[in-house]
Amino acid sequence: MAASKPKDERFDRRPWLLLSPALASVLLLLVIPTVFIVVYSFWLRTAVGSEQVGFYLDNWQEVLTDGFYHDILFQTLRIAALSTLVCALVGYIPAYFIAYTSTRHKALLLLLLMLPFWVSYIIRTMSWINILGVSGAVNSTLMALGIISEPIQMLYNEATVILGLVHFLLPFMILNIYVSLDGIDRSLTDAARSLGCTGWQAFREVTLPLSVPGLAAGGLLCFVLGAGTYITPMVLGGPRNAMFANLVYEAIVTQLNWPLGSALSLLLLALLGTLVMVYSRFLGIDQIAKSFR
């Protein structure tokens, strides 16, 4: 008769049971749909818009060799990078203020930071039309003040796309930088000051380097979200400001070419996924999670 295993060597099912709802969600909502998309990418669209089932590399060949897709992809990465840079420059100051303020209302400031999320992203994006439009608030004010005689055309260009993205992404950046700054031991800056550093030097030599993980986490989040958007260029962009997600939308919705749309979306997914993996390898993905704790 075989001896039974000691209690501590037995397979403990409890963690798996506790994890099962989360694992099932990931499986059903992420893994299986992604597998469907992968399968679709090897099918072909027929002339009437239905799919020809099989294993064809045509979509992948087109996506990987056609310069049109490469140009739009490059434009997407450029716009996302510029938006992220602006977010970092603009977002650092309020994050610093919230982290170092002595006011008792820090929680209120953080709540204000979350306030934009209570309004639909599309509504927030469209609000710029009322601000920057020919009959919008800015033009009306400038004309009323006599500064300009004719309205300035401010909308529907790359600058307004970046503006819309910054508006959308800024809270993510501020939150990440704030978490990073809030975790810095204040005695380090005090020590730097006591050793003769000016306020600016203490910031440059101590605070800024220690907040880099937060900046990087915010940067990653902003870049990935920015590179995957299609609403902002659709609403605020002109004819030449399309981003890669617009191509996916068009392939699937306008051209009814789901196989090509699948290949395009997988290409974007692979690119952004690689970026996340590189980030995780060097900086650790857990920094982003801290912002949401």
């Binding site: 009437v48 818009g49 049109f68 020919v134 002109g238 004819p239 306008t254 051209q255 009814l256 070419n257």
Partner: protein, 384 residues
Amino acid sequence: MDDTTRYQRLLERYRNGDIDRRGFLTLLGAAGLSAGLVGGPMAALSRRARAATPDQVRFDGWGGIVSEAFREYAFQPYTAKTGIEVVDGTFGGADEYLARVRASQPGEFNVAHLSGVFDYARYHNLDLSTTLNEDNIPNLKLVITALMDAFRPLTGGTLSAVPYDYGTTGIAYNRKHVSDDEAKELGAKLLLKPEFKGKVGGWGEWKTRIWYAALQTGQDPNGIEDMDAVWDTLREHRDLLLKYWTSGAELMSLLAEEEIYVTEAWSGRVKALQDQGHDIGYLDPPGGLAWQECLFVIKGSPMAACEELLNFMLEPEVSIAVAEGQNYPPALDPTKVDLGEEVPVLPSFDPTGTLDSLNFFDPVYWNSHEAEWSKTFGRVQKGY
């Protein structure tokens, strides 16, 4: 007294002239409201819609003033009469809607207000069509024959939709910057006037843009011979463009806010702007584009309930009220039905009931080029 009897008596009073149209519609609206609007999860809706006697039918349309007209003049009275609730959804474009239908379960979407013969053919090719029992839609006899004749050859002589209205996509222009005479003189080429660079709009839809580019290059849009010239003209137009608009609401906003001075535009939307007091002119240039819209019944729908809804929507009282609400002439034949005073003055109205003066997409021709042209247009649109 049940709802059906109440409705029939109301209709009888209206037909006898005991109450005017406004009073009739108000009472019908009140009856519809009393029936209540009950929402429900879409999955349950789909299940119910497939039932033999559904309590809900889903209708999808273009939103805005068009959907408001349907809600006010058609759905509420229909619900009051039948007890079947009409759940109405909207879409921004026919392509987007087709993508949603293809991703849905049969029966989830039932009746759709689709554009033109082109969509009718697409839905049929994708095996999404049905066969209507025309005996259940007696009001079909009031519909312009030419509109139905455009559908029948595509579905083997039967119908999967009833024609509902028609209109044109002409050129809208801001009268502060373009005179009526100049618009008439330039026609379709008004959209290519270099002085308007940055003040030109365009519908981001490949068929309409290619149609107008064909006109601008002096070609027959239903038989284009020099496609290179068309692509060049599309690029020329793109370089003058402020923005490709994607919905009627955006079109109206761009014109009303004077972001753009000239664009292609839907006749009914321009009429709505004019009614709001905006000084916007509208021109159907020679060879301009007309379209018809239909109420298409999608495969998997409860046919009897849908046919009853279609028949109800084709009642002259309802159809005329919807036409006046959405500013597009109804599909009813003006030689058979008295369309009142407002409909005959709507843009693109044809008093003959033959539609001989209007130009429509040839569905076979345009469908045969869809894959290639829609893809190429997508590139031209983005600067290539």
